[in-house]
């Protein structure tokens, strides 16, 4: 079956070729269980007296609940309990609240207004699945159908219906400032004006359902030690545990989560909905409760990879060099945030793709629509825009009359090049990939392109430099409600700022470690590090000013994936920079032209932005940094008291 070819000749000197497993067939450790049918998925745990929980769901895209009549359902045979929104102790959450990113915006059971088709409003627990289904059918809900919006750009129109009351502008609020994630690197408009060709394209991806073979679900049951055991299909066990603890207002020490065996996930089993539902059911009935989506629910309410729309504008020279690239991206988050806000931060760190382009700008919007909320799926945040970028590269090749592989080689990033998110590229291998692919396809390349190497020619001159960067303030939160505002970065109007060349940034880390010893030290986990690592101060301890001896008002730059290397203090990006941040009002070394307004928006995929120089530093009170969570009393409960569910079936009767 081996169609894998190991090209150990490439970058041979960068590896100690001492791999003992890679490249050799190896059996999965769990495969004997799979082929004998003995692997235990969550639904393979048998409990006596198991109850079944199902939801009453909204049949409309957007509708307000006038009233709910459960009288018929209540009387039906086998119905044990009707679960209402008021039964959820803390009925509002956002998935990323555990890392302090975004505001709580989604109810476990919706009490007022449903914002997507299939949103649950009520749950029924019954003796059998059939009884639960029939009882759900018997519930009468009176709906006031509201206007809905299903398209991302229509949702950003001033008169669009409000989808998500927590974000009344239908877009996620980035850093308490903008209605989109900005990336600014260099000056795209200058780039476009010097280009020989302008190539524009629009690309779109529909939502994609992960469609795992095993549908999402969980079984929860009371144990004998005052805990609840929960067998779950989750892909994110501690995420699900933390979310359950929060929604049900239970100490996490009372939750005994068992997972790890997933019948296919692909990102679709991180949303932590089935676990709080099942545990809530067990809590309200004192019995084991299964909450399992059926296949139609998996398709309708199971969060897919969200839809994306991208517009790319490229400035291209006659020789094929791309000198400016501007992105306008719209992520369809559906009705609630889930993970879309994070997908964008991650995606923007990826721009402009594996190419070195001196001027890059992006505005990316996390838009709320009345569609099923979107979540993770394999490479989310990257997949859609990579599709767009590579289609665009072909379009550019056509416009410039160049071979599409040659175009990629000409623009490929190389080791040492500065990426738009202000990190130096290393271990790049696009050039070698293109060369090998061309070879395999017997695609002729000119000799000079055959000779290119990812390790040569990068990191020199402008390729390594942080350019002077033009900034703008377009797209403040709420601005779009007052009238149309251009969405594309190169269409930005109004005052421009300039950030001096060479300006690095300070990374913002989503959530501060609770204790200093929880900070990951790269040296300890075996990453090669060629520069001394500075461990950011843990929040809760006195935050230290940046040790980086930058004279700049070091604007914060995004670092979705590299918090470890961050030299600055840890900042929750949802909060404004705390006063301990680098002195925001310090004048830049290179003063902006006197006619230009002071730089406001920082360059980079700005996370946690400092206020504009010249404006007073924010008093800490305007946006206090949320205190890291500390338990009221130490976790002791349950930890040393092993227990077992008294409902567990003693035998597998076979």
């Amino acid at each position: 079956m081996s169609s894998i070819e190991f090209r150990k000749d490439l970058f041979a000197d960068e590896r100690d070729d001492t791999l003992v497993e890679i490249g050799k067939p190896h059996q999965r450790q769990d495969i004997l269980g799979h082929v004998t049918g003995r692997t235990k998925y969550y639904d393979d745990h048998l409990f006596d007296g198991l109850l079944h929980m199902r939801c009453v769901r909204c049949p409309h895209h957007h509708a307000r609940i006038r009233s709910i009549d459960t009288s018929a359902a209540k009387r039906m045979a086998g119905v044990v309990r009707i679960v209402r929104p008021a039964d959820v102790p803390r009925n509002l959450n956002t998935l990323l609240s555990l890392i302090a990113f975004g505001r709580d915006d989604e109810a476990l059971l919706q009490p007022e207004t449903c914002a997507y088709r299939g949103e649950p409003v009520l749950a029924i627990i019954a003796e059998t699945e059939r009884a639960a289904r029939l009882a759900c059918e018997a519930v009468q809900v009176s709906w006031e159908v509201l206007a809905h919006v299903l398209d991302v750009e229509e949702a950003l129109a001033p008169d669009a219906p409000v989808v998500n009351p927590e974000y009344p502008n239908n877009s996620f609020d980035y850093y308490d400032r903008y209605d989109h994630q900005k990336l600014r690197f260099g000056d795209v408009e200058a780039g476009f004006s010097q280009a020989d060709h302008i190539v524009e394209g629009e690309y779109q991806m529909s939502p994609i359902e992960q469609a795992p073979m095993e549908t999402c679900g969980a079984i929860a049951a009371p144990e004998t030690n005052d805990r609840y055991v929960c067998h779950t299909a989750t892909q994110a066990l501690f995420f699900s545990l933390g979310t359950t603890a929060k929604l049900l207002d239970l100490p996490s020490s009372r939750l005994h989560f068992i997972g790890g065996t997933v019948g296919g996930g692909f990102g679709g089993k991180v949303d932590s909905i089935v676990e709080p539902m099942a545990v809530l059911g067990a809590r309200l009935t004192g019995r084991p409760v299964k909450f399992m989506w059926d296949r139609p629910e998996e398709m309708q309410v199971g969060a897919p990879r969200g839809a994306e729309r991208w517009r790319i504008r490229d400035g291209v020279m006659a020789d094929g060099r791309i000198v400016a690239r501007s992105f306008t991206g719209f992520f369809d988050a559906g009705a609630y945030t889930r993970l879309s806000s994070y997908a964008i931060v991650k995606g923007v760190g990826h721009l402009p793709g594996p190419y070195t382009i001196p001027n890059v700008a992006a505005n990316v919007y996390c838009v709320f629509t009345n569609r099923t909320p979107a979540t993770a799926m394999r490479g989310f945040g990257i997949t859609g825009v990579d599709f767009a970028i590579e289609c665009q590269m072909d379009r550019v090749a056509e416009a410039a009359g160049l071979d599409p592989i040659a175009l990629r080689l000409i623009n490929a990033y190389r080791d040492g090049d500065m990426k738009a998110h202000r990190r130096v590229a290393k271990n790049t291998a696009l050039i070698e990939c293109c060369q090998v692919a061309a070879q395999k396809a017997r695609w002729p390349l000119p000799a000079e392109l055959e000779r290119l190497s990812s390790r040569e020619g990068g990191g020199v001159g402008d390729r390594a430099a942080l350019p002077e960067t033009v900034t703008d303030q377009v797209g403040r939160i709420g601005e779009r409600r007052r009238g149309p505002v251009p969405t594309a970065p190169h269409e930005a109007t109004g005052p421009k700022g300039r950030v001096a060349a060479g300006t690095q940034g300070v990374a913002a880390v989503a959530a501060a470690p609770q204790r200093a010893d929880m900070q990951i030290d790269p040296a300890r986990i075996g990453h090669r590090t060629d520069t001394p690592t500075v461990i950011p101060a843990a929040a809760g301890l006195p935050a230290q000013p940046s040790p980086q001896s930058s004279p700049q008002p070091a604007p914060l730059s995004h670092s979705a994936s590299t918090p470890v290397r961050s030299p600055g203090p840890s900042l929750p990006p949802g909060a404004a920079a705390p006063s301990a941040a680098p002195p925001a009002a310090a004048p830049p070394t290179k003063a902006p032209p006197t006619t230009a307004p002071p730089p406001t928006a920082p360059p980079g995929a700005a996370a946690g932005q400092p206020p504009a120089p010249g404006s007073p530093a924010p008093p800490a009170a305007t946006s206090p940094q949320p205190a890291p969570y500390t338990p009221d009393k130490p976790f002791t409960r349950g930890v040393n008291r092993p227990g077992v569910s008294r409902f567990l079936s003693g035998t597998r009767r076979r």
Partner: protein, 160 residues
């Protein structure tokens, strides 16, 4: 709600169970009898994860009214291994990495066993046809096809 007694052989063993009216064979095997090897992926005949053999023919347990297996012979992947060693199909699935999450595997194995009984030296096309009612969402179908062909080859060798 009166229950109906049903007697059948499950993987060679006499089995008796009381079933609810309208219960499907999958629920009865899993919860009534405790054979958890067939899986529920869709409950509507679309995925094949619940495939079992009834009198040697492949059936979808989720769409089989449980009481219709009265006096019939039911086989599941839970009973595929006879003796100390795994069945050659199981060995081939392990060697070829023909399972990732493993949720479709029990159904795939039942489909494969049925094929090899009828056609001990199947073509690749015959294998594809034989597992066409069984969906897999992770490993892709190639290693599965390969494993079935490998098992056929080995079982032929043994028969010869």
């Amino acid at each position: 709600m009166p229950k109906t007694p049903v007697t059948f052989t499950l993987n060679g063993a006499e089995t008796a169970v009381f079933v609810d009216p309208g219960a499907n064979l999958l629920d009865v095997l899993r919860r009534g009898v405790g054979d958890l090897s067939p899986k529920q992926g869709c409950a509507q005949g679309g995925c094949g994860a619940c495939s079992v053999r009834i009198d040697g023919a492949l059936h979808l347990a989720c769409l089989t009214l449980a009481e219709t297996v009265e006096a019939r012979r039911v086989e599941t992947t839970g009973g595929l291994q006879q003796g100390p060693e795994p069945h050659p199909l199981q060995t081939a699935f392990m060697e070829c990495f023909a399972a990732q999450c493993g949720f479709c595997t029990p159904g795939m194995l039942m489909a494969a066993k049925t094929l090899l009984e009828r056609d001990p030296a199947p073509s690749r096309e015959a294998v594809i046809e034989a597992i066409s009612g069984n969906l897999c969402r992770c490993t892709g179908y190639e290693p599965i096809i390969e494993a079935i062909l490998l098992a056929a080859q080995r079982m032929q060798g043994r028969a010869a």
